[in-house]
Symmetry: C2
Subunit: 203 residues, 2 copies
């Protein structure tokens, strides 16, 4: 959409925009590369390997991510974004209750991914310290929308604070051995509990 | 029941039994006193206060509980016993599903009580190190019996490992602010999830 703003785009504005677009593209490449390198080699993987895989120079990497913790925090944020966005696509493709259940599993995946990176994140940098707030800012509205839709459809009870539910699932998924099938079963029982409250059979 | 063993009780055996009965009674008194003193003054409360409240001498206290951690661990064990025993009385007084739900709350209470004492329990003494195994030994069969009865009555799903459920509730109850109403709500939703699985309405 290069002509979006019609005649108002001066050559200087267009050039600045291209620089910003290039920067955004490099950040995307670096995050994609970092995600796969961290996943393969752990969080202490060489940043040179990440730059090479992304096809950018080390200068570019350090300009965008001065410290390793900045890069790790950005990877976590991008995974939080992907999880929040998944709420929209799941809601589009499934019944409300099913979308909620599937998203819960997606959220457990996020917790697993995050835990792999968490060990490196004790540095106390601003990028790291803002992560919990970022989790809440992105995921709470995503879950709220899923809960509202499922409650409106009469599929789950309607009195649940999404934040409480996010915390509960995170706690259920926090086991010594990482998230195993036992923990996932408990998360799915918790979701069943939301459904039970929608239309009580006993009493 | 002093004549349980009929004529086989020699005077010596009877005397030994009286000593053991006295010892057991002193231990009971000490545990009762310790429970209330710890609850009122915290886990660093004076052991002299506990002995005085129990009406026994310091020598008796130290003979039974050489270290503070021995006394704390014994208090925790007695609370685990009370929680396990509650499964029986709840099962006698309530419908199976309701007994299960009420016991879950009782178990959360135990976790709260235990947490208050846990800070003092890092000493690595045998009394302390055996506590997790004691939890499992006493509580797993108690919960198994409640689950079996509720599943047999068709009130909950029947494929749940009581150990997984004990761990899940412990995790749900482990919040930074102690167990609050939010955590209790999540535990009760988890129990509803067990009920939901007994007679699915959707699909």
């Amino acid at each position: 959409l290069p002509n979006d703003e019609g005649n108002s785009a001066s050559p200087k504005v267009t050039a600045e925009r291209r620089v910003r677009t290039d920067a955004r593209r490099n950040i995307e490449k670096l995050l994609t590369a970092a995600r796969s390198v961290f996943a393969a080699s752990g969080v202490d993987a060489s940043v040179r390997e990440i730059a090479e895989k992304a096809g950018v120079g080390m200068g570019t990497l350090y300009r965008h991510f001065p410290q390793r913790s900045d890069l790790i925090a950005a990877v976590v944020r991008s995974e939080v974004d992907a999880c929040a966005d998944a709420a929209l696509s799941l809601a589009a493709d499934h019944e409300p209750g099913e979308a909620l259940a599937l998203w819960m599993n997606r959220y457990v995946d996020l917790i697993v991914a995050k835990r792999g990176l968490a060990a490196a994140l004790s540095s106390g940098s601003p990028a790291v310290d803002s992560l919990p707030a970022y989790f809440e800012m992105r995921l709470r509205p995503a879950l709220q929308a899923l809960l509202d839709a499922a409650a409106a459809a009469g599929e789950v009870r309607g009195d649940i604070d999404p934040y409480d539910l996010l915390m509960a699932v995170a706690r259920l998924s926090t086991t010594n051995q990482g998230v195993d099938q036992h923990a996932r079963q408990m998360v799915s029982i918790l979701v069943d509990g939301l459904r039970y409250g929608a239309s009580p059979k006993s009493q």
